[in-house]
């Protein structure tokens, strides 16, 4: 392979990206050395097994990816803003919509959700950590190395260009000859293994580590949503694992799974992809429903309306999510019977979802609503998401779908589902739980500015796409002629995208501003909220709860505040905690290099790093590591300091 094939060349924007990558990757170690922070970084963050810190790292990575994916989105909107635009060529445009989709779903929405799960779930169930803290760190580093591997494709070797769904035969070696889709298969594979491990970890955590008295039907709704989500993860991700492995085999080992001419079947890919892909949508949407349930109930000062029906509807959604996949390709031609069945199952999803919408509305009814930033996002979610849902039912009708299929109407629909359904939720959750992790709230005024920019601009960006789609503009089209008349609405959409950018910049500035100026929170419960995570201090001590709370009903913390009865009594006992470990990050690095060499089919170094991966596993199994105990004196010291009392020396 020649150097000019290894590095992507010939595009000024790519050169700029290369320069910025080099600058950033030099600046970080230099800054760390200058400020003598290497040791701090290694012991406090990189080797941590603390679920709160892992959660924070997930969310930081997700924010980073939000901006990477956001730049892709801006470039797409800029390219299509005017007819016959030459900002990007067709190939570059293909790469950008592919990476935008993959990054936003797998490296932004998923880790943001998993980050919130990490921060909140053990606290919400009154536990001191997740079931397998070390495995949790492994999950994070696998996700992170997958994300980084996917991102370097832009400058080294070329990005995938066959869409985020990577349909065959387009994604085959014949039609996508660069290494781009090798990156796709291997980076997603690595991150996907991490996600599967997260799924197992949180299932065991929720099933086995709840505080005494917290039966399943007394769990907070977010915990319920995460439990169901992780069941979906455990059964959906292995399908992706297989699909990606077959893609790698087809592209790099000459097998015939998806090649028509030698007995393969191209639509087999589409089926496998969406058997994972549709449940994936619910993996990012169900926890969001959980977040909204928590926030709406907290800020309406009422218990959640229809708790049982919320649970039942989520279980129903999770089951239905596995039997709707073929609605992504009604036009494949699999006959009236199949299309009808999938059409009906798809429309059926609207029923449990509708139940949830009404439950939120009834929770709001006669509530004492306070319009905080997280609440504003939750309130905006309800009508916007309903538009997404209703257009979804339109798309679900197989015969009508022949008109909508692969048009901008579809693009508008899924952005109307995923942005209020997931992005608003993670932002709301971010604002809501931020004080729990850091001990102070984000500034409300800036938060509301960001909210209005984001919500209004979102509609300005995506509503025109419904009309463009109905007018016949297809998706993934890198340019169009003036005579189509698509220009004006695309320009409106571009203006909206700029507004969204402003909104997200305010959001990030708000983090900086609040770190500097926000008043510190003293009682650990700044929102006067309902579930257990608010019963401990903010920021949360390493061991979460000095005494494990006992729960006798839903919203036990709320009633304990009302009735003035503490949730936990008794004397402190030494607390057993897991030790930090460098193995997970080394394993992540080994996976990164293994993946990189796999992408380029450099077998010998790939085998070497494969052996390194096995070595880390062997090290782990022979290692003797029984964790450590936090002594009673240390707990007393920490608790006093967190209550703001003086040390007694």
């Amino acid at each position: 392979m020649k150097w000019d094939e290894f590095f992507v060349t010939g595009e000024p924007m790519i050169y700029a990206a290369m320069v910025s990558i080099v600058v950033v990757s030099l600046a970080i170690p230099i800054a760390l050395t200058y400020f003598k922070k290497w040791n701090w970084l290694w012991t406090n963050w990189l080797t941590t097994v603390d679920h709160k810190k892992i959660g924070v790292m997930y969310i930081l990575a997700a924010l980073l990816m939000l901006f990477r994916g956001g730049v892709d989105a801006l470039l797409m909107r800029a390219q299509t803003a005017v007819p016959d635009n030459g900002l990007l060529d067709g190939q570059h445009y293909n790469e950008i919509f592919t990476t935008h989709g993959v990054i936003m779903i797998l490296f932004m929405a998923m880790p943001f959700i998993i980050g919130l799960m990490n921060v909140v779930i053990p606290l919400q169930i009154g536990a001191r950590d997740v079931a397998f803290p070390r495995l949790n760190a492994v999950s994070f580093w696998l996700f992170f190395s997958g994300a980084m591997l996917f991102n370097i494709s832009f400058v080294i070797g070329g990005s995938p260009d066959a869409g985020w769904s990577a349909y065959f035969p387009l994604a085959s070696l014949e039609f996508s000859p660069t290494v781009g889709n090798n990156y796709y298969a291997i980076a997603l594979q690595i991150a996907g293994i991490g996600t599967l491990l997260t799924g197992i970890n949180f299932l065991v955590t929720i099933l086995k580590m709840r505080a005494p008295g917290m039966t399943l039907m007394k769990m907070p709704m977010f915990t319920w949503s995460v439990l169901i989500t992780n069941v979906i993860i455990v059964f959906a991700f292995p399908v992706l694992t297989v699909a990606l492995a077959l893609m790698t085999l087809d592209r790099q080992f000459g097998t015939q799974f998806f090649a028509m001419q030698s007995g393969g079947m191209d639509m087999l890919w589409a089926n496998l992809f969406w058997v994972w892909g549709h449940p994936e949508v619910y993996i990012v949407v169900l926890p969001a429903f959980g977040i909204y349930s928590e926030i709406i109930s907290a800020f309406a000062r009422k218990n959640l309306y229809g708790y049982k029906s919320m649970v039942v509807s989520m279980v129903a959604i999770s089951l239905l999510s596995f039997v709707v996949w073929a609605h992504h390709f009604y036009t494949m031609g699999h006959g009236v019977m199949v299309n009808s069945v999938f059409s009906i199952t798809t429309m059926a999803i609207a029923i449990p979802t509708g139940v949830k919408i009404f439950n939120w509305l009834f929770t709001l009814r006669k509530g004492k609503i306070s319009f905080t930033t997280p609440m504003l996002y939750s309130l905006a979610f309800i009508p916007i998401f309903t538009i997404g849902g209703v257009t979804g039912v339109m798309l679900a009708m197989a015969s009508a779908d022949y008109q909508y299929h692969n048009t901008m109407f579809l693009v508008a629909h899924f952005h109307y589902v995923l942005i209020p359904g997931t992005v608003f939720a993670v932002i709301a959750g971010f604002h809501f739980w931020f004080p729990k992790v850091f001990g102070f709230r984000l500034n409300e005024k800036l938060g509301k500015w960001a909210f209005w920019f984001i919500t209004v601009s979102f509609n300005v960006t995506f509503f025109p796409l419904f009309i463009l789609g109905l007018n016949g503009m297809t998706r993934r089209m890198y340019t169009y002629s003036e005579s189509t008349g698509y220009g004006a609405l695309n320009m409106v959409s571009m203006v909206g995208a700029l507004g969204l950018t402003v909104g997200f910049i305010i959001l990030v500035y708000n983090i900086y501003y609040s770190v500097r100026y926000s008043p510190r929170d003293t009682n650990g419960d700044p929102w006067d909220a309902r579930s257990l995570e608010w019963s401990t201090h903010s920021p949360v001590p390493e061991y979460n709860f000095a005494l494990i709370p006992t729960v006798d009903r839903l919203d036990a913390h709320w009633f304990s505040k009302k009735e003035g009865k503490p949730l936990a009594t008794g004397k402190y006992e030494p607390i057993h905690m897991p030790n930090n470990s460098g193995v997970p990050i080394i394993m992540g690095a080994a996976f990164f290099f293994w993946g990189f060499f796999m992408v380029f089919s450099w077998w010998i170094p790939a085998i070497v790093f494969g052996v390194v991966i096995l070595g880390t596993l062997a090290y782990r199994t022979f290692e003797k590591d029984h964790g450590h105990y936090i002594s009673v004196e240390e707990i007393e010291r920490t608790e006093k300091a967190l209550r703001g009392e003086q040390h007694e020396n």
Partner: protein, 198 residues
């Protein structure tokens, strides 16, 4: 760490119980993985292109030997876990050792099978059918290979550290894994080989 002596040692701590539950959930994911591979195989089994068909390729005797080897290994690991619960270190190690030897023999026969197939012009690249066949069998074979490494390292730990809550827990979980591979093989034997021979 609290140790509960009323249950077998592999269940005796909370951490051990969680690890066993976690592994059962992992096996659930493995079922999803192999189900997908079976689905791919069933979809492509008729697409033989210019290559041989299943009935051209398969012979009962090597497959029968593989089946007997793997099924006996599942039996011996069961005896090993039984010996472990009785606290008998030597017999436990012997049965685990026999299990691994049987597993290695199974792999040997499987490799011999693969070499024979390739010799008859049936490679993974020949047709959709063969790609799916080799991938399904290969995934199972890789699981067995990984099991040999894993089981070997557990044997070493038992030898060095004896029966502790950790080592018994690992041994028990490994036995779950091994039984699972046996179950998958029963499906391969029935729905790939026997069906293909018909």
């Amino acid at each position: 760490m609290k140790i509960d002596h009323s249950v077998p040692m592999e269940y005796s701590t909370d951490e051990n119980k969680m690890k066993i539950l976690g592994f059962w959930i992992f096996l659930g994911a493995e079922i999803a993985l192999f189900s997908t591979l079976f689905a791919v195989y069933f979809t492509l089994q008729g697409n033989t292109n210019v290559g041989p068909t299943a009935s051209d390729l398969f012979h009962l005797s090597p497959v029968m030997i593989e089946t007997i080897l793997l099924l006996s290994s599942s039996f011996t690991i069961g005896l090993g876990v039984h010996a472990m619960r009785l606290g008998l270190k030597k017999p436990m190690m012997t049965f685990f050792g026999i299990t691994l030897v049987l597993g290695a023999a199974f792999l040997g026969v499987e490799v011999y099978e693969f070499v024979t197939y390739v010799g008859e012009g049936a490679t993974i690249q020949t047709s959709g059918f063969l790609s799916a066949l080799f991938t399904l069998l290969g995934t199972h074979g890789l699981h067995v290979t990984f099991g040999l490494l894993w089981g070997g390292s557990i044997l070493l730990q038992i030898k060095k550290r004896g029966f502790t809550p950790e080592t018994t827990n690992k041994s028990f979980i490994f036995s779950l894994y091994w039984h699972f591979l046996d179950v998958v093989w029963i499906f391969i034997f029935s729905f790939v080989y026997l069906k293909g021979l018909m």
